[in-house]
Symmetry: C2
Subunit: 233 residues, 2 copies
């Protein structure tokens, strides 16, 4: 009957923030240091936080994002909640929770959000102690992240894959303000896991009404420079 005990878990939000460097998708991860028996371990985790007493879930997610990047008006959407009772059982995670939260925390149900931002945005931290960095998605697969954050990232990736098929606008949140068609195609193919034909792809995108050609070319490349485009409206 211990199975039937009602129990209050904590509730948190975690943000999966994707960027694109022109070639690969990246995730923003927070550095975490844990001292365990006089040894320092270095770790990475998603930006996240326990929700506050009077705070809605979306508000908590925006707060976390803002504390991290200093920015607002970001494409941010909830995509899944994770509540496996054993997701907070790793001893290293338990230790970190006790140190940071100053209290024993048992189970945590987390609500995950995803955001896509331009990777060249300067990240402003409210606290000087936190440090965030971009990591290749492929690297991340072999890292040992905190909690079930690898699962969360994978599910978040799935989510923006689907979303980008419905609203191609999402792509331009990831690209720099001025971009080449090649960059757009690389991003598109990365997200859709395809290899589209160069000619067909260009035909498709130049007829999108919200993509406009500029009178500018790429600079500093050791070959023919590509035309730059921007996203409008």
């Amino acid at each position: 009957m211990s199975n039937e005990i009602i129990y209050n878990p904590h509730v948190s939000v975690d943000c999966v923030i994707f960027g694109f460097d022109g070639e690969k998708l990246k995730v923003l991860l927070i550095e975490r240091t844990i001292s365990e028996q006089n040894t320092l371990y270095n770790d990475k985790k998603l930006p996240g936080s326990i929700i506050l007493a009077d705070e809605d879930l979306d508000d908590a997610a925006y707060r976390v994002l803002n504390e991290l990047t200093g920015l607002k008006n970001i494409y941010l959407s909830q995509f899944h909640s994770f509540g496996n009772p054993r997701r907070t059982e790793n001893p290293r995670d338990v230790l970190w929770l006790e140190k940071t939260m100053q209290l024993k925390i048992g189970r945590i149900v987390t609500v995950a959000y995803v955001a896509v931002i331009k990777i060249d945005r300067k990240l402003q931290f409210k606290s000087d102690q936190t440090s965030a960095n971009w990591y290749d998605l492929n690297e991340v697969r072999n890292m040992n992240l905190a909690f079930d954050h690898t699962d969360i990232i994978n599910k978040g990736l799935e989510h923006i894959r689907h979303k980008s098929e419905i609203e191609p606008n999402l792509l331009f949140e990831l690209l720099p303000r001025k971009f080449t068609i090649t960059q757009l195609q690389t991003l598109y193919d990365t997200l859709h896991q395809t290899k589209s034909d160069v000619r067909n792809f260009r035909k498709k995108v130049v007829q999108w009404p919200y993509i406009v050609a500029l009178d500018e070319l790429e600079e500093g490349v050791p070959h023919r420079a590509a035309r730059l485009y921007k996203y409008k409206k």
Copy 2:
């Protein structure tokens, strides 16, 4: 600073269960009776439950669904979590929570799941006290449901709309085992909010590999009987 207090809300799951009667989409709602100052109020709510101490979210949703319908192997998927601090503030809801849960419950964060089932399935209740009924989605919009269950239903509807565009298989979970093309089209158009052309629609679906014509006709209709089809694999 009261804004910064860490607080443990309860966590629950709610299931939005859709059915289709051949003409309209329906939701399964639980009857709820509240006695308030010697008066009995009748109410409806989504099937749901606080999660148990050692229970994963998906497990909780399946438990709720099973306790309600007695069935397993149902198309069930998590679609959104709702955590507005004020979602449990309605006095009637507070009263009901105290009566049913035997304890004061403040905030509840709920994780919502959606399921689609055949409406002619016999519902077996584990407890004789609960009673569930199908309601038209249009009626439901004007009912006063418990908590924010109207919002949850709307978001769940959005979810199966999207999902049915990607996987048409979902449609056959809602249709009876033997169905007519007209029923299929009505369901399709209801979900997609379209009015497709009869000829084009038939051309489209008869070439779906998983739809097979039977040697049977509808019975008991006061006009020409339609051919029956079934879904395979």
